[in-house]
Symmetry: C2
Subunit: 350 residues, 2 copies
DNA sequence: CTGTTAGCGCGTTCAT
DNA sequence: ATGAACGCGCTAACAG
C-alpha cells in the first residue's frame, strides 16, 4: 500500500540497492543516476520504512532518554539539551545521522524505569541516557545495573547523567555533595548556627549526597549535634517544602536558615515562612539547589548551587552518539557553582 | 548474536510460530506449552526485536509528541500527561498495548517540526500529537497540513493539542481568545484604563488568539485607541518580558497594568517593574496566562488564566490511542479559567 | 559504479 | 493446538 524502495527503483530505472545507496549516502553513486533517484523519491513522496531499515541494518536511530519527571524543568532542560544534539552530524549531507530521542518520564518509579529500559531494548535503541537520581534499594539498584549491562552487551551505548557511575556505562556525575557542602558553609560563614534542612525522598542517590554535603559542612563547624532533628524528608516539589517548613518551625522556632534540597522545594519553604510571618532573609535565610531559571527571578532572588544542566545534557547527548571521547575512567564530575544571592544574609542579632 | 525467536523455540521444543503466539497472547495455546515457552523466554532473557516485529506486523508502538520547548513546563506538563497514558490498557495482560512516547522538542522552528514529522513517518508511528501554537506563515502552515494529511492517510492517528483544527486530525483547542478576553475584562472592571500588553512571537496562532482576546476586551470598553502602541512582541520567555516592559514604560510611563501573553513572560515583567521602582500591584497590576505551577507561589501571587494542561494531555493521549471517542466534529474546546490573585488590584488613584 | 542475491527476525496464512 | 512456509522492506555482501 505504501510506496517502497522497489517502487522508487522502478521509476528511476535502477535497482533497489542503488536507491538505498543514494539515500544512505555512504557509497559512491554516479551523479546522473543519483539525481534521477532523488527525483523519483520526490515524485513518489517516498519515506524510508524505519523498522525495515533497522531490521536489515541491525541498527536503530532511536535514543532513549529517561527522566524522573519531564514536567520538572530540571529534567526538561537536560532532556531538551540531549535532544538538541541528535541532529545530523556537521559534515553529513545525507539524512544518515538523524537520531530520534525518546524521552521517557518514569515518575521516579524503579519499576517504570525498568519497563522503559526493556521497551528501549526491544527497539534496539542506539543509546540510552539515564538522568537524575537513582533509587538506592539494593534489589532495584541491582536490577538496573543488570539491565544496563545487558543493554551495553547488546551494543546500546549507556550514558548516566547526574547519577552515580555504573559498570558498562559512561557517567556524567553531578558534584551534589561538594555543592551542598559549599552552600551550607556559606550559611555558616554568614553566622548561622541553627539551620534546618528539607531533604528529598530517602533512598535516592541525589538526596543522600546533598544531605551528606550539608552534614559535612555542619560537622566542620561543630554544628552537627542537632542535624538529625533539623532534617525533614519530602518529595522534590513545592508542597513538600511547604509542609516540611512548618514541621521544622515546630521542632525549632528559632531557626535562622533553611536549606532546601532543590529550588522547587525552596519555593515552598519561602511560602511557608511568609505564611508564618517570617521575612526572607531578614528573619530566616533560605537556599536551594540547581539554579533553575525561576530562581534568579524569585523575590528575593534565591541563593542556590548552579548546576550546568544544559551543558551536561549536551555532553550526555554527544557521549551517547559517540561524538565525544569518553572521560578518563568513564566518569566525569560536573561541579556546581555557589550562587550567593539575596535570600541569604547574616542571621538576625539576639 | 542476540537471542531470537528461533532460539526460544528450540529451547522450548516448539516452533517459532508458537512462541510468537504465546508472546502476543492473541491466539489459543495449550497451557503446558505456554508455560514451557515462557520459561524458555525467561531463561534466555529473550526480548522481542521491535523493528522486526514492526516490519512483519506493519505496526509500530511509537507515538510521537511534538512540543515547542520541552524545557518549558507548559509543554513538560502536557507531554508528561500524554506519556502517562501510554501504558498497557487496563484489561490487557500481555505486553501488547505498551506504547513508547517520543517527545520531540522543535524549538518552535517549523523546519524542525516538519523534520520530526518525517522522522516519525519513517518510524511508521502509531500516532502523533502536535502541541502548542502553530506557525502561521502560509507556506509552513500548508506544508504541515500536507504532512498531517499524509500521515493520516498512512494510518497514523494525528491529534492536535492547543493548536487550531486541521483536516484529518482530531483537535483539542485551547480557548485562548476567550481566556484572554476575560482576563483583560477583569482588569478593566478593576478600573484600569492604560493597559500594556506583552505579546509572544508574531505569526503564531496562540500569540494571535490571545492578543485578539485582549483587544476584544479593550474594544468592549472603548479603550482600543492606544492598543497598537501599547503592545510589544517578544518570545515566550522571561528576558523578553523584561525587555518589553522597559519598552512599554518608555512608551507610556503612566501604565497601570501590564498583561503578559504567558506566565513566564509575566515573571520578566515583574522583575522589570521592580527594577524601575514600581510596586506590584499597588503601582502596576500584572497578569499572565497558563497558570503554571510557580505562578501561585510568585510574590505577589500571579493573576492568570488557568489552562488544564495535565487534563488536556491525558485526553490527547487517549485520543491518540483511540481509547476515547472523538469529540463531535473532531474538535473539542478546552476553556481557561480566570484565576484572580494578588498581582492585580484597582489602579492607584490620581 | 551498478545489479543480483541473500538474509535480518518476526507475524501470518495455510495445513495438519 | 501446533508447525511449515512465505514475505514484510530494506541493507550488505558479492559479482561484474
Amino acid at each position: 500500500m505504501a510506496v517502497t524502495l522497489a517502487d522508487v527503483a522502478a521509476r528511476a530505472r535502477v535497482s533497489a540497492a542503488t536507491v538505498s545507496r543514494v539515500l544512505s549516502g555512504n557509497y559512491p553513486v554516479a551523479e546522473s543516476t543519483r539525481a534521477r533517484v532523488l527525483r523519483a523519491v520526490d515524485e513518489l513522496e517516498y519515506v524510508v520504512n524505519g523498522p525495515a531499515s533497522a531490521l536489515a541494518a541491525a541498527t536503530s536511530d532511536l535514543v532513549g532518554v529517561l527522566v524522573n519527571d519531564i514536567a520538572d524543568p530540571f529534567f526538561g532542560i537536560i532532556a531538551g539539551a540531549v535532544q538538541s544534539e541528535m541532529g545530523a552530524p556537521i559534515g553529513a549531507p545525507g539524512r544518515g545521522g538523524e537520531k530520534l530521542a525518546v524521552i521517557c518520564s518514569t515518575g521516579g518509579s524503579p519499576e517504570r524505569e525498568l519497563r522503559y529500559l526493556t521497551l528501549l531494548q526491544r527497539q534496539r535503541a542506539a543509546a540510552v541516557v539515564l538522568t537524575g537520581s537513582a533509587a538506592e534499594q539494593p534489589d532495584h539498584a541491582a536490577a538496573v545495573a543488570t539491565k544496563v549491562s545487558r543493554l551495553a552487551a547488546s551494543g546500546t551505548r549507556v550514558v548516566l547523567c547526574g547519577r552515580p557511575p555504573l559498570e558498562d556505562a559512561v557517567t556524567l556525575a553531578f558534584d551534589n555533595r561538594g555543592g551542598a557542602r559549599r552552600l551550607t558553609e556559606h550559611l555558616v560563614t554568614l553566622g548561622h548556627r541553627r539551620i534546618g534542612y528539607v531533604a528529598g525522598p530517602a533512598e535516592r542517590t541525589t538526596t543522600r549526597h546533598r544531605l551528606e554535603g550539608h552534614r559535612a559542612a555542619l560537622a566542620g563547624a561543630g554544628l552537627d549535634g542537632d542535624a538529625e532533628r533539623l532534617t525533614v524528608h519530602g518529595l522534590y516539589d513545592r508542597p513538600s517544602g511547604y509542609d516540611a517548613t512548618l514541621e521544622l518551625l515546630r521542632r525549632d522556632s528559632g531557626l535562622t536558615a533553611i536549606v532546601a534540597a532543590n529550588d522547587t522545594i525552596a519555593l515552598g519553604v519561602c511560602a511557608a515562612l511568609r505564611d508564618r510571618g517570617r521575612r526572607i532573609p531578614e528573619d530566616v535565610s533560605v537556599a536551594g539547589f540547581d539554579d533553575l531559571p525561576f530562581s534568579a527571578d524569585a523575590v528575593p532572588s534565591l541563593t542556590t548551587v548552579r548546576l550546568p544542566l544544559h551543558e551536561a545534557g549536551i555532553r550526555a547527548g554527544r557521549l551517547a552518539l559517540g561524538r565525544e571521547p569518553q572521560p578518563p575512567g568513564g566518569v566525569a564530575m560536573v561541579r556546581g557553582e555557589l550562587m550567593a544571592r539575596s535570600s541569604t544574609t547574616p542571621p538576625p542579632r539576639g
